[in-house]
Every structure is written in structure tokens, then in C-alpha cells.
């Protein structure tokens, strides 16, 4: 998890990009919904799509509830799907702790909405073939998730 995240559109047959607004809870998930539909149209295996949708949705929720906004970028390449989630915001103080199941910094208001159980990041890692995270405190968090196809 110490790698610098590399983001390159080289070899991408298709690029999707969606802006994610902070605190827009009722719209959270729209980007992941669109990503899921597009991958379905491309004929990607439904089991892989499901894992991408879950991970992308978890990440999208995180951007909405924890950051000041961000974006999701998807590169569809010949041998893999890459999903990048980048936000501006407080960053993650201790990434190792944040990767622990049950660890959460979410407020009770977020928990009342059904999130903040501390399962998001571990679930993203479990759902993806490769998972990278880097965070600068007070600046940003970046995720890269990759699935072989």
C-alpha cells in the first residue's frame, strides 16, 4: 500500500469520468449505477461487474460523506478495468487503521443513514483484484482498484 498510484489512460478503449459532490447523500450511487450499466453493455462478466459496482459504490459513498468532493474515473482496457477514486478533503490520518474492519470515523448522523460501520475500505479491497490507497492528511485521498478481465 506504499506504492505511488499511477494513473494512465494509455491503452484505455474507453474512459468514464464522474464528479462526486460532497454531502449529496440522496444522489450518492448515481455514478456507480452508470458505471455498472455501461460495463453491462460492454458484456463484461456479471460477477466482475458486481464486484466493481460494490467497490465503486462504497468509494463513492466515502467521497460523499467524508470529503469535500471528488471524482471517479474508469479506464476500460483490453485486459483490465481500472477505477480511480480521488477526493479533496481531510485525508485519512491512519490508513492502516482505516483498513481494519469495524474502524470508522463516521458521525452518528452518517450511521443513521446506514453507513459508517467501518466496512467500506476492507470491502473495496476484498472486492478488487488489486487495491491501492494513498492519502495526504488535510489534502486528499486517492484509490486505485483494478480487475482483470
Amino acid at each position: 500500500m506504499e506504492h505511488a498510484i499511477e494513473k494512465s489512460a494509455v491503452g484505455a478503449a474507453m474512459t468514464l469520468e464522474y464528479d462526486i459532490e460532497q454531502d449529496d447523500f440522496s444522489r450518492a450511487g448515481e455514478a456507480s449505477s452508470k458505471i455498472k450499466k455501461l460495463l453491462k453493455q460492454l458484456g463484461i462478466d456479471s460477477g466482475i461487474i458486481r464486484r466493481i459496482a460494490i467497490a465503486s459504490y462504497e468509494a463513492e459513498i466515502n467521497v460523499v460523506i467524508h470529503s469535500n468532493g471528488g471524482k471517479i474515473t474508469v479506464f476500460v482496457k483490453s485486459d483490465c478495468i481500472e477505477v480511480f477514486v480521488e477526493d479533496e478533503g481531510p485525508g485519512i490520518e491512519n490508513v492502516e487503521m482505516a483498513m481494519t474492519e469495524g474502524f470508522s470515523t463516521a458521525t452518528s448522523a452518517i450511521r443513521e443513514l446506514g453507513f459508517g460501520a467501518g466496512m467500506g475500505l476492507p470491502n473495496m479491497k476484498r472486492c478488487s483484484d488489486n487495491f491501492f490507497i494513498e492519502s495526504k492528511l488535510g489534502e486528499s485521498t486517492r484509490l486505485k482498484m483494478v480487475w482483470s478481465i
Binding site: A28, G29, K36, A53, F115
Partner: protein, 115 residues
């Protein structure tokens, strides 16, 4: 168990998705924590929950769930129902609590998810 039987057993009102009542589900999961639903649930599962916001339907969409049961007499807002209609997800409302609705379904042969 088909969705029609689930609705009948718990005296549920079908809010949307009448055309999908013959779909089969293999298991059920009850929770108000969508984080846990996303971490544990497979497809062909019905979700029982007391939460009625957009994210319940979005969660079901990402997991390819076929039906959601809202317990404790809670009704989702209109736009949440519209979202479910768009996504082809059946919504059922019951006055039973989560515990009772789950108990009735379990006693009638609908299992929990396998670990």
C-alpha cells in the same frame, strides 16, 4: 421462495414491482446497516430493513438484489419508490418488526445467507 410468497407470509403490501413477483430468492438478510449488507450479501437474496432512504435501493442495485422488505410499518418516500421501479427491484412494506418478519420467513424455509 418466490417473492409473492414472501409478501403473503408477512402480510406485506407490494409498493412496486408487481411484474417480478415470481422471481426466486435463495436467502434473506436483515439489517439497517447498508455497510454490512454490502460486505456480506450475495445475489438472489431479499433484504429486510427499517431504513427507507435512497441508499437502500442503491445498495440493492449494486448487489443485484431482487426485493427489499421495509419493516416496522415504514414506507419509503415517493422518489425512492421511483428509483426502485427504474431498477426493477420489488419493494414490500410490512408492519411486522425486523425480528418477527425474519422469524416468519425462516420458519417457512427461507434461510439466512451462507457464510
Amino acid at each position: 421462495m418466490v417473492i409473492r410468497d414472501i409478501a403473503e407470509l408477512i402480510g406485506g403490501e407490494i409498493l412496486v414491482g408487481h411484474e417480478y413477483l415470481e422471481r426466486d430468492v435463495k436467502a434473506a438478510f436483515g439489517s439497517d446497516l447498508m455497510s454490512d449488507v454490502l460486505a456480506y450479501v450475495g445475489d438472489e437474496t431479499v433484504l429486510l430493513t427499517g431504513l427507507t432512504n435512497h441508499q437502500v435501493v442503491r445498495t440493492a442495485e449494486m448487489l443485484d438484489l431482487k426485493a427489499i422488505v421495509f419493516v416496522r410499518g415504514k414506507y419509503p418516500p415517493e422518489d425512492v419508490v421511483s428509483l426502485a421501479k427504474e431498477q426493477g427491484i420489488v419493494l414490500i412494506a410490512t408492519t411486522h418488526t425486523l425480528y418477527t418478519a425474519s422469524g416468519i420467513l425462516y420458519c417457512n424455509g427461507l434461510q439466512g445467507i451462507s457464510k
